[in-house]
């Protein structure tokens, strides 16, 4: 389990997520909007009689929000007893990666620097290893 990763494309970037942090991957319909909520909250949806809060990683990274399409796949995570789901652009694979996680080399965009834990080598590409719980909270908003 330690070495099992989910390879997904979120916020226009291929990332690896440690599988133990992930509850499941599901598809959602149209979420229910939450007026007045912070901008990265894309809405609410129900799954197995639980209400999940949908997070748009684009906003967390500092990109403009994307509309949620029906049937879009989301990554369900539990953070502090609350259920959240990260909108994913694409889910690529779940695989064992034997390579060790390495320290982030090079300069990242500030948005990514906050959520990335490290990097990992997979099939000839370097992937950011991100912690989904970092997407739940927004960085202190800059004055728009």
């Amino acid at each position: 389990m330690e070495k099992l990763y989910l390879i997904a494309r979120i916020a226009d970037t291929r990332v690896a997520l440690r599988s133990r942090a992930i509850n499941s991957v599901v598809t959602v319909g149209i979420p229910v909007e939450v007026p007045g909520a912070p901008p990265h909250v894309a809405g609410l949806f129900a799954l197995r009689s639980r209400v999940f809060t949908l997070i748009d990683p684009h906003v967390v990274i500092g990109l403009p929000p994307v509309p949620v399409a029906s049937g879009q796949r989301v990554i369900v995570v539990d953070v502090a007893d609350h259920g959240y789901a990260l909108l994913a652009d694409a889910i690529e694979d779940v695989c064992f990666i034997e390579a060790p996680e390495t320290r982030v080399a090079g300069k990242l965009l500030p948005g990514w620097a906050r959520v990335a834990d490290g990097m990992i080598e997979h099939q000839g590409a370097s992937l950011l290893v991100v912690d989904p719980s970092h997407f739940i909270t927004l960085p202190v908003m800059k004055a728009a």
Partner: protein
């Protein structure tokens, strides 16, 4: 009517308590058996010994409460022996362990019998107790451990079953609840698919059957978490008894509505507030005995705790008939403790003054007592109740008592919600906060734009208007029909209200509320999320938070002040007018009288009654009042009097006891002739004679000692044998004259002089300015010029008086 119980408990509570005790004891005995054997193996193991001691002590404690003398005696003996070991007075050895185990076995037998029969079987436990008390003899050393009759686990199983209740961990219950909710959602989804696929009627019929049983199951699971509120009330009689004894007060404690059910989690949350309020009532509310007598109250105070269900809320009312709260004393204290300034105090309404009680660190006690008044008080109670979505209300009747009403939701998780639409999506509003729903373009609603804000006027009452779309920062949806727009009058808390304008009202349903993610809660707009049957999440609006978000002042103070005050006064008047005091008459009949005519209930010694002028009078303090009774009471001791007051004079009506105060029923069967009894009403199915205070007062009106000075003064002369004062004076007083007898020093010239003897020796010197009436003892007149009046001719006498003075009431 409330079931009176003097520190007693109802049968069902005792059953529940007994079941709990048995289940608990079975576990304890099982533990104790094991622990004893382990301890025996290592007598130096102090921790083990302490554990056993605690277990036995627990049994003793609970059995004492349930009045199980044999269990108590047995556990006490075991506790005693173990304590001696703990103190080092006795050494632990096999013999001691055997004897303690013998006690444990006996306890077991008793508990099994209790479980079967529901009562403790009679019998003698002297043998095992004596054996335990016995000090060791050398022969005991050869004891064989293998002989200890340990209970086997399956024995406990069968016994637990016979007690017909099991204990289930709460998380398990919760997971069952979640599972069932899942099933319901899956069913809804499936039903949609069935409808769309055009399945055959047989499939739909069998699906409906499945659907029904799922609904039933959901119901049962919700009930599994519910408990009778009896459980909450059960420790109260004991607390009241002990405290009342400590403080030398007499208190009758009643509970009612114990069958009301409440989610057990809620129960945990209101246990401490409830106990606190009851203790407060005993300590501060109920006056000392002498103060109660002085206030004309029954010596035995009453504290009643009642529960009732209203919608999906539970109301718990704690009522005492003590001194209530003095708002002015509260204000004085608040100023003294610098909680408020004197200037602020002047602006407070009566209700605001009362609310001072909820200020942190505020104690109403004049002095700090052991029981309460330590500054930890009503603020904690209020905070605890509000934490679970409840409300605390005070109903103060200064001098007569205080009623505290706790209103809490039945469960933490299920509320009745009103579904509304705004900006194209649904939101839920807690039904409890909704006061009224109106169509926005209805006749009763007027909306004004005032300085950029909006104001809704509903039947003369004004409310600040919030548009839900605006508060949420959304645009109104184009799909909305203007005719659907509705106003929801919301009361987020005490003394606050506003009108919330929404695009449409949908319906209302029972909602399972879950907290939303922290960043959503942080908006302050929402109180949680819920999943209605359609499977789409809905946000529950925080009706209090909306006020803050919209930055409006929702307090009602100062708005519609006159109407509200008038409405309150009217409600008060209606309440007073409609109440009936039920009492037992001295002849044992149950009678009633309107509460409003009663000034107070006096308790006086029988010796304070005396007979004067043919009527029984009572001396109360420095005053003398007529008493409606034919004879002086024969018995010594004290008696109770109702003090009727008509605004001018007082009449005492002796009673045996006060029974209750009830609402005066609307239907009165009037009696045929005017008299003491105005009619008969039915109270709780029993006929009650209604006293006619008008008639009563009319009988005694003229007897009033404080007769108006404009009543003619009648002087009796030559009343040597006392006939005048004994026989004549009452008639004269009845007829509206003041009477003085000849011996009294007359400061005032009498209007008429009555000479009681025919020769009229002492009347001779009276001048012509005072008319004189002479009475004769002979029936027949002496001649045509005889102006004397026969002394038993009441009418002639009164006529003569009326002619002479041109006054009187006759």
């Amino acid at each position: 009517m409330v079931q009176l119980q003097f520190l007693g408990r109802t049968g069902t509570v005792i059953d529940d308590l007994l079941n709990d005790f048995l289940a608990e004891t079975a576990e304890i005995l099982a533990d104790a058996g094991g622990a004893l054997v382990a301890w025996e193996a290592d007598p130096t193991d102090r921790a083990q010994l302490d554990a056993i001691f605690r277990l036995v002590h627990t049994i003793k404690g609970s059995s004492g409460f349930l009045a199980l003398p044999r269990v108590t005696a047995l556990s006490h003996a075991a506790e005693d022996a173990l304590d001696q070991v703990r103190r080092g007075n006795r050494t632990a050895n096999a013999a001691l362990v055997t004897r303690v185990l013998a006690i444990i076995d006996r306890l077991h037998t008793l508990c099994t019998a209790l479980g079967r029969g529901g009562f403790e079987p009679s019998g003698d436990d002297g043998d095992v107790i004596a054996a335990l008390a016995e000090q060791d003899s050398p022969s005991d050393t050869g004891y064989d451990v293998a002989g200890v009759p340990l209970r086997r686990d399956d024995d406990f199983q069968s016994e637990l079953q016979s007690w017909r209740s099991i204990r289930v961990p709460l998380p398990l219950l919760d997971s069952v609840m979640t599972g069932v909710t899942d099933i319901v959602l899956a069913r809804n989804e499936f039903a949609r698919m069935l409808r769309e696929s055009g399945a055959s009627p047989t499939v739909i019929a069998s699906f409906d059957r499945l659907s029904d049983s799922i609904a039933g199951m959901r119901q049962s699971v919700s009930q599994m978490r519910m408990q009778r509120i009896d459980k909450l009330f059960a420790p109260l009689p004991r607390i009241v008894r002990d405290l009342a004894q400590d403080m030398g007060k007499k208190i009758a404690f009643q509970t009612s509505g114990g069958e009301v059910e409440l989610d057990r989690e809620m129960m945990e949350n209101i246990r401490d507030p409830l106990i606190h309020i009851v203790r407060n009532a005993i300590d501060h509310g109920i006056e000392a005995l002498e103060d109660r007598v002085a206030a004309g109250k029954d010596i035995t105070a009453t504290i009643s705790v009642s529960a009732r269900q209203s919608g999906n809320q539970i109301e718990i009312e704690i009522r005492d008939d003590g001194r209530g709260i003095s708002p002015d004393a509260l204000v004085a204290k608040a100023i003294a403790s610098r909680a408020i300034t004197a200037a602020e105090a002047r602006t407070l309404s009566a209700k605001d003054k009362l609310e001072l009680v909820f200020r942190p660190g505020f104690s109403t006690a004049a002095k700090v007592t052991e029981v309460s008044g330590r500054g930890v008080g009503m603020d904690i109670v209020k905070a605890n109740v509000e934490k679970i979505g409840g409300v605390v209300e005070l109903r103060n009747d200064e001098g007569r008592g205080l009623t505290i009403l706790l209103r809490v939701p039945m469960t933490l998780t299920i509320i009745s919600g009103l579904m509304v639409r705004a900006a194209g999506q649904y939101f839920a509003i807690p039904r409890g906060a909704v006061r009224e729903i109106l169509l926005e373009n209805g006749d009763t609603v007027r909306i004004d734009r005032v300085g950029g804000g909006e104001l809704a006027t509903v039947r003369g009452e004004q409310y600040p208007l919030l548009r839900l779309e605006t508060v949420l920062g959304r645009e109104a949806s184009d799909d909305d029909d203007v005719d659907d727009r509705a106003l929801v009058i919301v009361r987020p808390g005490q003394g606050q209200s506003y009108a919330l304008s929404v695009a449409a009202i949908h319906d209302h349903e029972e909602l399972v509320i879950k907290p939303a993610a922290p960043m959503i809660m942080a908006t302050g707009l929402y109180a949680g999320t819920t999943l209605p049957d359609n499977g789409r999440p809905v946000l529950l609006l925080d009706v209090q938070g909306l006020v803050a978000a919209a930055a409006i002042d929702a307090t009602e103070t100062g708005r519609n002040h006159d109407q509200m005050a008038a409405a309150e006064a009217q409600a008060n008047a209606a309440r007073n007018a409609a109440q009936l005091l039920l009492f037992r008459d001295t002849n044992g009949r149950v009678r009633g009288v309107r509460l409003s005519v009663i000034e107070r209930v006096e308790e006086i010694p029988a010796s304070a009654l005396f007979e004067s002028a043919g009527h029984v009078q009572a001396q109360i303090g420095d005053e003398i009042f007529p008493v409606h009774t034919a004879n002086l009471p024969e018995a010594e001791g004290s008696l109770k009097l109702l003090r009727l007051f008509d605004g001018q004079s007082v009449l005492c009506y002796p009673i045996a006891e006060v029974i209750d105060i009830v609402r005066l029923p609307d239907a009165v069967q009037p009696s045929a002739a005017p008299g003491l009894i105005a009619g008969v009403v039915l109270v709780s199915g029993e006929p009650v004679e209604l006293i006619d205070p008008f008639w009563l007062m009319a009988q005694y009106a003229a007897l009033d000692g404080d007769a108006a000075p404009n009543q003619p003064l009648c002087r009796l002369a030559d009343d040597d044998d006392g006939w005048g004062s004994n026989f004549l004076a009452p008639i004269l007083r009845n007829a509206g004259y003041r009477v003085v007898s000849g011996d009294d020093a007359a400061d005032e010239a009498p209007d008429v002089l009555l000479c009681l003897t025919e020769d009229g020796a002492s009347c001779a010197h009276v001048g012509d300015e005072i008319p004189v009436i002479r009475l004769r003892s002979a029936v027949a007149a002496a001649g045509p010029d005889d102006e004397t009046v026969y002394r038993y001719d009441r009418q002639a006498l009164l006529d003569a008086l009326a002619r002479r003075v041109g006054g009187g009431r006759a």
